[in-house]
Structures are given as C-alpha cells and as structure tokens.
C-alpha cells in the first residue's frame, strides 16, 4: 500500500514537472576582455540589413582593429524571453537591440547609461526620448518608428476624389470613405487587432486630432487623465468606427502583422495606420500599389482647436549591457552602429526611416514623412508601460466584440497606468 502511494506521488510529480519545465535558456558569457563583442538583435539576419551591419562593422574595425564583433540574430518573438534569461543570469551579449518605450524602460537595470559616450551623436540623431528614462539615455536610436495614416491614392481617383488633398476633418474623412466604399467597395480602414496592436496604432494616429496640445503633452509627460472626456472620445471613436462598418471585417481575428497590411496592399481598404520602419511601411506598400499611389496623411481634425502631428519615436536602438567588461568599447560599437554611413545603407536597403536627420530621402511618401518629423510628437501609446499596453490590447478586443464598455475599459486602464 505504501509503495503504491509513493508510486502515485512519483507519477503525479513527474506529470506536474512535465507541465512546467524550466524556462531559462543558456546565455553566452561576455567575452569583451578577450577582444570580442557579442551583439544580440533580431535584424542582422535580414537580407536588407546586411549592408548596414557590414558598414557598421567596418567603421568599428577602423577604430578598434583588434576587437572581433559577433552578431547573434535572435527570432523576434523569442527575443525578450531570451534576453530576460540573460538578464536573470547577469551575463549575455555586450550590446543588444531594443524597441523604444516600455521594452527598454522595463529593463534599464541591466543597461549602462550612454550619455557620456554618445554625446557627440545627440544633435545628429532623432528619437532619443524612447530610449531615455529618468533623464538618462540607455540606447542610441537606429530607426524612427511612427504611425502615419497611409492611403491608397488609386481608390481616391476611382471615387472621383483628389488624392493630393485628402480631407483634413473627421467628417470630411468619413465622407470620403463613404464615397470610396460606394464606388469601389473598399472599406475605410484595414484593421488587424489580433495581437492587440490595432488600438495602439489607432490611439497614436488619431490622438493628436482629438486631444488638445496641452492634454497631449501632459499625456507624454506622464500626467494621464483616463477619465477625461477627450481620452474617452478616442476609445469611443475606436468603437464607433467598428460599429459604423468602417473597419475591414473580423478585426479581432486578423493579424496586424501582416494580414491587415495585406488587405490594404490588395486595395480592399482605403486607409491603414501603418509604420515608418521595419514592415508595414511606405516601401512595402510601394511594392504593391506603386510609389505614386501611396499617400501619407496626419490625423484629420476630430475636435476643433487641435493640431494634428505625426506620432513618432525612436524605433529600435542599441544599448550596452551592465555586465560588459569595457563599457566604453561597447559604446563605441553602438556609435558605429548609428554612424551616418551605416544608417544610409539601412535606409536604402530596408526602407527604414532612420534616426539620422542628415540622411536624405528620395521617394514621395517618405519625403512627406520626413517633412512631418519636424512637427512630430512622441506617440501616445509608447508612453505607456508594457503592462498597460497589453491590457489595452485585450480591452480593445473586448470593446470591439461588445463584452466590455468603453467606460469600464478606461477605468481598468487608469488603474493599471497608476500602479
């Protein structure tokens, strides 16, 4: 009997253990002392980034000929899990890539403040805010990421509208959408909210047309009033757009990356809130629609007295790990990775809007984007913690399928943002 009991405990324990295996991975140790720097990112294996990495390596080799640099490209969907394991172990890559905003701010404990090393780059590069916490910069920006509203000029022409002058007010914008829907059956927006990213894009793209400039700046500065009428208006608009049938169907089961982009590229939707760099950006859309058919606009004015602006931040950047042997050396590699020459190659091959303000743009959509950078402001959603972002994603899905009211969602978001 006793044996049986023991046996059953052993079986149960084995079952349970199989259910929760260890999550820690192996982290390579830092090898800076032996003349080698290890870089983690999710970009260097892309074909479009090859020239960029080569240029950066060459620049660094000029300054430090004896130091080898190894790029380890991790899969993006596993990146922060692997990085978390490395941080937990207190050893890993010397230099690592980060998304701006919550992803880096949550992990600054593992990073070296770079201000003293990269100060000469400060005026040349834009997008530092997304990598800054408590006044210290923890990474140098490589690309800029923002959320312009792209539109399909061809559909405007088919509906007899002037694609050079899209509407600048919300009522005009929806009237255009109605006209295009009537003429071409294209929906107003391509929406992908399966990952919960749709609401982030929506909040940032239309925020500047709804919030007053003062409210906008307060939001970015951390003084966010989730119970204010204008914040509620943003989320109400999110619901209304769906209820009025302006979104492509099944937004909650459509991925933003990349099904929603596919809907826009195939001409089934007139507008999409896209990105500036990486994917879902002007270069991707140019390939499908042709460079002359891709238009860019800022948010229409929803409320009088607002000044719509392009929401953008630092997109991705490189930071230096706390455990590296020689932070100055690693910071030099970060400087090489943000050199004008390397970033020019990144812009040319990958179509990323890079942080370097001296890189010249050529094509129509990107010229319009770069022109808007001067008046642009940080995106609203980037100011939120990753915990609140995740909650907002879930609540946005529930708002769409009607299982949560806008008021209840805002109450939860306010609580999450304050904690």
């Amino acid at each position: 009997m006793k044996q049986r009991a023991l046996w059953s405990v052993a079986v149960a324990a084995t079952l349970a253990l199989a259910g929760c295996g260890s999550a820690t991975g192996n982290a390579p140790s830092s090898e800076a002392a032996s003349g080698k720097l290890v870089v983690w990112d999710w970009k260097s294996s892309d074909k479009t980034a090859t020239a960029y990495v080569e240029k950066a390596k060459a620049d660094f080799a000029k300054k430090h000929p004896g130091v080898a640099v190894e790029f380890v490209a991790q899969p993006f969907d596993q990146y922060y899990t692997l990085l978390g394991a490395a941080i937990q172990a207190g050893k890993g890559p010397d230099v690592m890539m980060f998304n701006g905003g919550g992803q880096i701010r949550d992990r600054v404990d593992a990073l070296v403040p770079l201000d003293q090393y990269v100060s000469p780059d400060k005026p040349r590069l834009a997008g530092w805010d997304a990598f800054t916490k408590d006044g210290k910069a923890f990474a140098s920006p490589v690309t800029l990421q923002g959320h312009p509203i792209y539109f399909n000029k061809d559909l405007y022409k088919k509906a007899g509208l002037d694609p050079q002058r899209p509407a600048t007010t919300w009522s005009g914008f929806t009237a255009d959408c109605a006209a295009i829907a009537k003429a071409t059956k294209a929906t107003c927006f391509a929406l992908g909210n399966k990952e919960g990213a749709g609401i982030q894009f929506f909040l940032s793209a239309f925020g500047s047309g709804i919030l007053s400039p003062q409210e906008y700046d307060d939001w970015i500065a951390g003084r966010r009033d989730w119970s204010s009428a204008h914040v509620k208006q943003i989320f109400q608009l999110w619901k209304d757009v769906e209820d009025r049938g302006l979104n492509s169907k099944g937004g909650n089961s459509t991925t933003m990356f990349t099904d929603a982009f596919g809907i826009f590229q195939s001409g089934k939707a007139t507008n999409i809130i896209g990105l500036m760099s990486d994917i879902g950006h002007w270069k991707d859309f140019n390939e499908f629609l042709g460079p002359d058919n891709v238009g860019v606009m800022k948010s229409p004015v929803v409320n009088e007295g607002t000044t719509p602006s392009l929401p953008f931040d630092g997109g991705i950047g490189y930071g230096v790990a706390k455990w590296t042997k020689d932070p100055a050396l690693a910071a030099d590699l970060v400087r090489s990775l943000t050199s004008t020459e390397a970033l020019t190659a990144f812009y040319t091959n990958a179509g990323a809007v890079v942080s370097d303000t001296t890189v010249k743009a050529a094509e129509p959509a990107v010229t319009a984007l770069v022109a808007d950078l001067k008046t642009g402001k940080p995106a609203l959603h980037v100011a939120l913690s990753s915990k609140t972002i995740e909650l907002m994603g879930r609540l946005s899905q529930q708002i769409l399928d009607g299982s949560v009211t806008v008021d209840a969602a805002l109450k939860q978001l306010g609580e999450s943002d304050r904690s």
Partner: protein
Amino acid sequence: MPLGDFTPLLARPARAGRADGTATASRRRRQTGGLSAERLSPFVLIAPAVLVIVLFRLWPLLLGVNFSFTGDGERNGAAVGLDNYAELFADPLFLGALRNVGWLVLLLPVAVAIPGTLATFIYLRVPGHRFYRSVYFFPAVLSPVIVGSIFNLLLSFDGPVNSLLEVVGLGPVDWLGDSDVALFTVLGVHIWATFGMALVVFLSGFATLDPALLDAARSDGATLPQVIRHVIIPGLSRTIQFVFVTTMIGMLTSMFGLIYVMTSGGPGGSTYLPEYYIWIQQGQMNRPAFASAASTVLFLVMLVVGLAQVSFLRRTGKED
C-alpha cells in the same frame, strides 16, 4: 469450481517463501561482514536515478518555488512573501485562465466520446473502415503550429468556412475573433488534431473485446445503440478510463502551440491558459518571479489532477 484449485496454488509459494526467509535469516546471523555490502547494493543501484531526479527535477522545482517568493524589477531578488500570489489571484486574466482549465475538464467527455464513437464504427466495419482508420490518424502526426496555421486560414473571417456558411445561409462567425467562441474553436481544433492517438488506443482496446459477445448480442436481436450501451462500453471500461487520463494531460500541457498560433490568448484574454499566462509574464512583461508564482500554482493544479487521476485509475483497477 476453478476457485477451489486456485487458492492453494497461490498459498503454496507464500508458505515456501516464509520457510526460505527463516533460512536466510539464520545465514545472515552467521556472516554479517559480507551482508552490509549486500544491503547497500540496492541503494547504490538506484543512486544514479535518484540523483538525476533530485538534481534535475526536484532541486530546480524547489528553486522555482523559492524564486516565486521574490520580487521583480525594482524589487528584484528581495523577499516579498506572498505578494506575487496575492496579485496572481487578484488578476482577472489569471482567474480567466484557470476558468478555461475548468472548461477543458468539463468538455473532456466530448473529447473522449469522439474517438470512441469513431473507433466503434471502424470496429463494426462500416464501409471504408480501413480508409477511415488511416485518415483519422493523419492529423496526429502534424505539429500544432502547422495545424494552427491551417485552421487560421480556414477559419479566418473571409475564409472558406465562413464562405460555406454564407452559401448555406448562416451568417459568418468570427471563429477566432469572438471571445465567446474562440476557446471552443481552439479546443475543437485541438481535439481534431489529437483524437487519432486516442482512436488507436480504442482500437487496441477493441482487439481485446470478445467477438462472441457481440455475435450473441446480435443474434438476440440487440440494436446498434443497445450493442454499444450494453456490450462495447462495459467491455472497454479500462480503455475508456485510460483515454480520459491521457486526453486530460494532453489538454493541460500541449495546447500552448495552438493558442500561440491561432489566438495569441485573445480576443480579450478569452483563450488564455495558465501556460500561456506564464509565458507572457516571463517573456513579454519581464516578470520571471511572478511567472514562477503562476508556475507554482499550475504545478499544484497538475498535482491535484494527477493524484486524482492516479487514485481513479487504481480504484477502477480493483474492480476488475
């Protein structure tokens, strides 16, 4: 009476064993020196297995539980007592994940009945049963990622399933985008993908079923439902119990891939399971200690379910 012959047969070796035991005991008294090595040898022999379990299973488990009492981020490494657990049980998302586990347990009979019914049809040699036998097993060899991708295409809002529904005149259903439907969609796909294995187990159970009983039932004029109810189900009771246990384990431990690919836990967190929650907290939220607390809770849930199943199996084993 076969029982009358049987009892002494069993009793004899027992008595012989006792006699043998006294002999060994007297021998032991004579040569104690060589015996301590003999007594130690079983421990030496099991030592490698015990060490492997302790070092690679139990010790990390204890570390993980210990880790769950520490903080994350600014409180990294500091002891926080039961804070993580308090937060966990205040988080509607985690409670939702546990509720979804409850749904899985409730729907377990369906997941067992499907392969059971289909195996019965194959056993009763419906036309084309050989073909069905291989076709039913086929999805079991596909990885969850592939299955998930296939069903993502089939079940997308403008996908073929909805087109078909529209032709029939039923409105489109947002299979993966409606929070009331999504969990059952994913579960349905999981059952589709894994029932082949249970089917094979059922078929092997049928192999032990006495065909004479079926023939007898048929010649007594039993209908098909009656045959199933009174001959097949009682005859297969142990197989059915085994399939219950293995299907439950499969549901609790191997739906992560499908959820990851098909819904990412959405919409609105309605398809979260504890495993997925742990992964999000560790990987996306950078809260390993909090994730450890969730893992510990999952461990306890599995322990309870595992023990319940083991005792269930033992009890039914005694009935035979």
